[in-house]
């Protein structure tokens, strides 16, 4: 599902390994090249032509005989995609969100339920996209690296083993997480992206060229540490272990070190040439606020954890973009968690039943 950077890389890389792949994308323009050449040209850490079965804008056709449905669309489109998939899903199919951001599997599952889907479908989410990649041109993707030890969890967590078995047939990189709260609270993009967008809002809109990560200054590094601490506190309140941004950098980009987050970010080799967006209408705001900061704040409220910084950034993003990202974003009702306590939510993500604890 989805033929952006990640969709190209995943389809091409899996096809290259002989996995039968069908690609769905909502708009025809993105898949025209794939259709024409019958697959994806892959370069970088994997090389070759991955021939695919089909690339289509017809969801029914794409889903018809799929065992595994890999979703690579922006998290802000997960709800809409779930609604579109609902009539076509069958018993035993597995949906994996790559990645779910914060609350992806919860939103997907709640949407299927709202659409009265009766098919027994497993919904899971990855903590991050397994590839570092970028589209060279339509139909051609460069895979810069394949990440190690990407957390994956199903909803409920009791399904994770079954999903891992299936996904393990094509990827060795995934490792099981405790539950979708662990994958969801390990949302590092929600820490880095909106903050850096706001503190650079003026020059981003002015189209100034600068390096998004490498050019950060000490005050920003400290700010990122403070907002990260809020995320970690929320995760702790829900009994899951989230890596700090610094720990994550050290693990995702081995060998990165520094005295503080400011130095660590500036020392990440993969960040050296990452240029800043040239528009504020960018996924760093339009995705990472509604599917990152908004649900983190929503979970914090349930647990009574103060998150003034995260909340402030959402307010500023709303005013900047002239959009109500609180309403657009993942509120608890959209995640199927309205009215639940911390214990209720933990029980729900582990077992999908809350009756025992709410009684």
């Amino acid at each position: 599902m989805g033929a952006g950077n990640g969709g190209h890389a995943m389809a091409g890389h899996l096809a290259l390994q002989g996995v039968p792949v069908r690609v769905y994308n909502r708009s025809q323009a993105r898949i025209a090249a794939m259709q024409e050449q019958g697959g994806v040209q892959v370069e970088g850490v994997a090389e070759g032509f991955g021939g695919i079965k089909a690339a289509t804008t017809n969801l029914a056709e794409a889903l018809a005989d799929a065992k595994l449905i890999m979703v690579t669309v922006p998290a802000s489109a997960h709800g809409e995609l779930a609604r579109a998939c609902a009539p076509h899903l069958r018993d035993g199919q597995v949906v994996v969100l790559n990645p779910g951001r914060t609350g992806g599997a919860l939103e997907f599952a709640a949407t299927l339920r709202a659409e009265n889907v009766t098919a027994q479908v497993s919904v899971a989410e990855a903590q991050t996209l397994v590839y570092s990649c970028r589209l060279v041109e339509p139909g051609r993707v460069r895979i810069l690296s394949i990440k190690n030890r990407v957390l994956l969890s199903a909803l409920p967590a009791t399904d994770t083993e079954r999903v891992m078995e299936l996904v393990g047939q094509i990827y060795a990189e995934f490792v099981p997480a405790a539950n979708v709260l662990e994958t969801g609270f390990n949302n590092i993009g929600a820490v880095f992206h909106p903050s850096l967008m706001l503190f650079n809002a003026n020059r981003i809109e002015a189209g100034e060229e600068f390096y998004f990560y490498r050019d950060i200054t000490p005050h920003l590094g400290r700010f990122l540490e403070a907002i990260d601490e809020e995320r970690l506190a929320v995760a702790r309140a829900f009994g899951v272990r989230a890596e700090s941004a610094g720990e994550w950098l050290a693990h995702a980009y081995s060998g990165v070190s520094g005295r503080d987050l400011y130095e660590e970010i500036r020392n990440v080799p993969a960040y050296q040439k990452a240029e800043a967006p040239t528009s504020l209408d960018d996924r760093y705001l339009t995705e990472d606020v509604p599917t990152g900061l908004v649900p983190i704040v929503a979970f914090a409220e349930v647990a009574g954890v103060a998150v003034p910084i995260s909340r402030s950034l959402v307010h500023i993003a709303c005013a900047l973009l002239g959009r109500d990202l609180w309403a657009e974003g993942r509120r608890l009702d959209r995640l199927g968690l309205a009215g639940m306590s911390v214990e209720g939510i933990i029980h729900y993500v582990n077992y999908l039943y809350t009756e025992e604890v709410t009684k």
Binding site: F199, A201, N202, R203, L313, H315
Partner: protein, 369 residues
């Protein structure tokens, strides 16, 4: 021999100028040039060494000449003791300190004017005097803005680029405004009366323009990049400023004060301003051309305009039940960026002496009804 006429004419007003920054230099210099006896107080010796050496201020720009000063000192007592008018010309976050040092020396009938008060200056000054148990009946007023556009241009020398007209001034309570203006207009005919100190206080345009623009440029300001502070603003940045401005206007409305929007303020204040949107009007404001952004984050755009602008606006909004999410968000972000608790150190309803009061009670307090 006594000159019988001096009995009839107003005696010369004795002026105390508290603060020897840009504004203090201009005010002390020009009033002295007009022939008034002026004494200057400043907290730090190093900032008044030249004034004392030269015995006054050299003025250039729209005013030319030399204004001889009667006294320049770091000792508050002799400056305040015999002053008729005490002009406070310090950053608003220093008002509390000035009130504390003045308190023991104040006498009945003295007039204190904060130039400007920012948001809640007169309220804070008055509340400090109350805390200190001052019994002298002192008239306290605040101006909406500093009357001068000026810069210190050399040792004991100031360049006055412009003198503003129609600067609004209100006393606390408003029933004192007429009496204050009667005296102060002998120094400055430029002052005009405002309805009350909520009007002068909520007309804080700096609080709208400055902190948000710094926040939305934090990274490149800290990196020392050279760019135009005002003319560099993009449409989205000005949208954000308008969101902040709407909150300010809503708070003013809740207190029954008519305040103009930032974009209308630009149109009225500067000549040649064009366009309908805030973006267009800022772009066309000649006075902003070439005004560079600060090269450090430790600037009054934050250290003054957050604690004596956004914080009291949000705090008054909260008391009145007016939501100010954008103002609050900028304050919250600044607290983290600068590792300071602006909510506590800034002006809030508690330290302005307004906690527990209703909107109507506050309006009655500032009106003097």
């Amino acid at each position: 021999m006594r000159n019988p006429k001096s009995k009839i004419q107003n005696p010369k007003l004795r002026v105390a100028v508290l603060g020897a920054g840009n504004g203090g230099h201009a005010m002390a210099g020009q009033l002295a040039l007009k022939g008034l006896p002026v004494k200057v107080y400043n907290k730090f010796e190093e900032e008044i060494v030249h004034l004392r050496e030269r015995g006054g201020v050299a003025l250039e720009g729209v005013v030319e000449g030399f204004g001889p000063l009667d006294l320049v000192t770091t000792d508050i007592a002799p400056v305040v003791a015999d002053a008729d008018v005490i002009m406070v010309v310090v950053p608003a976050f220093v008002h509390r300190f000035m009130a504390e040092v003045c308190a023991p020396h104040l006498r009945d009938g003295q007039i204190v004017v904060l130039n400007p008060g920012r948001t809640g200056g007169a309220l804070e000054f008055s509340n400090v005097l109350k805390e200190k148990g001052v019994e002298a009946r002192v008239l306290i007023a605040e101006a909406q803005t500093l009357i001068y556009a000026c810069r210190i241009s050399g040792p004991a020398r100031v360049d006055i680029k412009g003198i503003k007209r129609g600067v609004r001034l209100a006393a606390l309570p408003a029933t004192d405004t007429g009496q204050v203006l009667e005296t102060v207009s002998r120094l400055y005919p430029e002052f005009v009366p405002a309805a009350n100190v909520l009007e002068t206080s909520l007309d804080n345009i700096g609080a709208v323009f400055h902190p948000s623009t710094v926040v939305l440029n934090t990274n490149r300001i800290e990196a020392g990049e050279d760019f135009d502070f005002y003319q560099g603003m993009t449409p989205t940045v000005t949208h954000f400023l308008e969101a902040i401005d709407k909150e300010r206007l809503a708070v003013a409305q809740a207190f029954g004060v008519g305040t103009e929007s930032a974009k209308d303020w630009l149109l009225r204040t500067y000549e040649g301003v064009l366009g309908d949107t805030l973006y267009e009007r800022i772009q066309s404001t000649e006075a902003y051309h070439g005004l560079k952004a600060p090269k450090t984050l430790n600037v009054r755009y934050i250290t003054e305009d957050v604690p004596t602008g956004l914080v009291p606006i949000a705090s008054l909004g909260e008391l009145a039940g007016v939501p100010t999410p954008a103002c609050r968000a900028i304050v919250d972000v600044c607290c983290v960026l600068f590792d300071r608790d602006f909510w506590q150190e800034g002006r809030n309803v508690k330290n302005l002496g307004l906690a527990g009061m209703s909107v109507d009670e506050i309006v009655a307090l500032v009106e003097g009804r």
